[in-house]
């Protein structure tokens, strides 16, 4: 009993320490953002005269409104299409079990561990030849392709577990293949789809490499790519940089805190399946 209690307490202390270590950088960012612009504050010192105006200045300097709009457009371009394509493919590979499915599936799985840097050079020339450089399509189209291995893998894992009887009885009732897919299987796939949607949203919003290589204008990039440009421009003004970084973090943090249960589950399942 006593041993057990001791372990419980050491567990609690460790957990609190770990949480502190995780939160400390955010706290430091926040405190620094309140210092006078252009100053060189140190560590965690609370400023004598907090400059809340830094957030407004950073909002304007980073043109946050336009950034959020740009990232949202990119997410809207990537996520729904990826979900649709992956659901169709996952359904055919996992449930219809088409001939040659193993080869197709293996082709997709090959891309699971692909580092994006591996193909960024040819991708640049390809996107340039398509005339899409410096447009949001330069991020949207390659990302859909790059997400396919994981997304198809994920949806196949769902459809492989759907009982055949379900489809057989729907067929008895006269449903054609398209109805079977839309009316029966897509509604049942909603939990898998929503977790996948969360992961794809996060990976799109935070995509950096494609944004900085394929799009020069920070206002047409993802949030993450724009932050890179913001650092280049305001890197010497530490309080302003910290304020800007915090603002750029806010949308993902807000969405995370609202949907945290789903997020954590999605990320856990995501890494287990991947």
């Amino acid at each position: 009993m006593i041993v057990g209690r001791g372990e419980t307490w050491s567990g609690r202390v460790l957990l609190v320490l770990l949480m502190a270590a995780t939160l400390m950088p955010f706290a430091s960012l926040f405190v620094t953002a309140l210092h006078p612009p252009g100053s060189y504050p140190s560590g965690l010192d609370w400023p004598a005269d907090p400059h809340w105006g830094n957030f407004v200045a950073a909002f304007q300097a980073a043109r946050m409104g336009e950034l959020v709009k740009s990232s949202t457009l990119i997410v809207l371009g990537v996520v729904p299409v990826s979900l649709l394509l992956a659901t169709l493919a996952g359904f055919a590979i996992g449930h219809l079990r088409i001939a040659g499915r193993n080869v197709v599936f293996l082709t997709f799985v090959l891309g699971l561990t692909l580092p994006f840097e591996g193909i960024i050079t040819p991708l640049y020339y390809q996107v340039r030849d398509m005339g899409l450089l410096n447009t949001r399509w330069a991020i949207i189209l390659p990302l859909i392709g790059l997400f396919m291995p994981f997304a198809v893998f994920w949806m196949r894992a769902h459809f492989v577990n759907m009982p055949d009887e379900l489809s057989e009885s729907a067929r008895m009732d006269g449903a054609n293949l398209w109805q079977l897919f839309w009316r029966i299987h897509v509604p049942l796939a909603m939990p898998a789809l929503s977790s996948l949607a969360i992961l794809l949203f996060l990976w799109t919003w935070n995509q950096f490499l494609l944004a900085i290589v394929l799009v020069d204008d920070p206002l047409k990039r993802t949030m993450s790519g724009a932050l890179g440009a913001f650092q280049g421009q305001w890197g010497t003004d530490i309080p302003l940089l910290c304020a800007g970084s915090l603002l750029i973090l806010t949308p993902t943090l807000a969405i995370f805190l609202i949907f945290q249960r789903r997020f954590v589950t999605a990320l856990l399942q995501g890494s287990l399946k991947g």
């Binding site: 591996g118 919003w205 932050l227 287990l272």
Partner: protein, 307 residues
């Protein structure tokens, strides 16, 4: 459901016929995904291989150089150092989060259902949610000469070791590693913890009855039962180390000198600043192969053979 699979596996054509779906119709479902994947992933992979055997500045004509670019990747000390740096980063991105994650998870296993632990799940996931770029910016500030890390060190009487951690040749790479460890520790801890919740508590009780201490429990029950989760953690974190880009780009840009240059960043500089597309592509091929060569054995070793 699971019972049916083996039975149906042998009679696939018949079963597909049972669903009255000709195979070509099924292929229509796969076609769009395969098309986008082929155009934006498979084609660039093939092209990377093709570029890697030419010398090309990205504009003019290209010259066939055979495996010359690969020779350069392995003999040019600056290029080869990028691969070594990525391998060294594995210690921080992978070894520390997994080992520390295991220790932490087994310590907090007993309170895994408490309110504190539930709050911790949210907090520990924060580094996974924010852009890596933001983590890089935040930490470059924390690790700067006037940053929080030095302030804390001075407080505990270690003022002598303070420095600009990311600007010092001897500490820059470990400092980048610390950022990676911070990002990945929470994910590993929670992944391992959720794996532990599936272990039968009776195993621990039996071990206690046999007089096993916490360390013995950890080695004989916890670690073997978490084989799959450990495999996932190692795979994800090793790939994050080998293919690191975002953090290094914002925290050090590969500097000071080449102290923190990693393959991903070198590919970016070679291809888009120095216009050595061939060399960049050869390094890209090496990176892609390296990731696969490392990932496959880990998957194989940690596969759950009991099921």
């Amino acid at each position: 459901m699971a019972r049916r699979t083996p039975k149906t596996r042998g009679t696939v054509p018949a079963r597909a016929a049972g669903l009255r779906t000709p195979s070509w119709v099924g292929w229509l479902f796969v076609a769009p995904a395969l098309a986008v994947y082929a155009v934006f992933v498979l084609r660039p992979i093939v092209l990377t291989f093709q570029y890697s055997v030419y010398r090309w500045d990205g504009i003019g004509s290209s010259t066939w150089v055979g495996l010359g670019n690969y020779g350069k990747v392995f003999t040019d000390p600056d290029l080869f150092a990028t691969i070594l740096n990525a391998v060294k980063l594995i210690v921080f991105f992978s070894l520390i989060p997994v080992v520390l994650g295991l220790v932490i998870a087994s310590t907090i296993r007993r309170i895994a259902a408490s309110r504190l632990a539930l709050a911790a799940r949210t907090v520990l996931f924060l580094p996974q949610v924010i852009p890596l770029v933001a983590a890089g910016i935040t930490w470059s500030w924390l690790l700067s000469s006037t940053g929080l890390v030095n302030q804390l060190l001075s407080h505990i009487g270690l003022g002598g070791v303070t420095r600009a951690w990311l600007g010092d040749f001897s500490t820059a790479l470990p400092a980048v590693g610390v950022i990676g460890a911070w990002v990945l520790l929470g994910l590993c801890t929670i992944l391992l913890l959720s794996g532990m919740s599936k272990i039968d508590p009776a195993l621990y009780e039996a071990a206690r009855m046999d007089g096993a201490g916490p360390i013995r429990e950890f080695v004989s029950i916890t670690v073997p039962s978490l084989r799959q989760e450990i495999g996932v953690c190692v795979t994800v974190t090793v790939i994050a180390a080998l293919a690191s880009f975002d953090i290094v780009y914002v925290a050090t840009q590969g500097g000071p000198g080449n102290a923190t240059m990693v393959p991903g960043l070198e590919i970016y500089y070679l291809a888009f600043s120095e216009r050595q597309v061939g060399t960049a592509s050869a390094l890209a091929v090496v990176l892609m192969v390296l990731v696969i060569v490392v990932a496959i054995p880990i998957q194989w070793l940690t596969k759950d053979r009991t099921s």
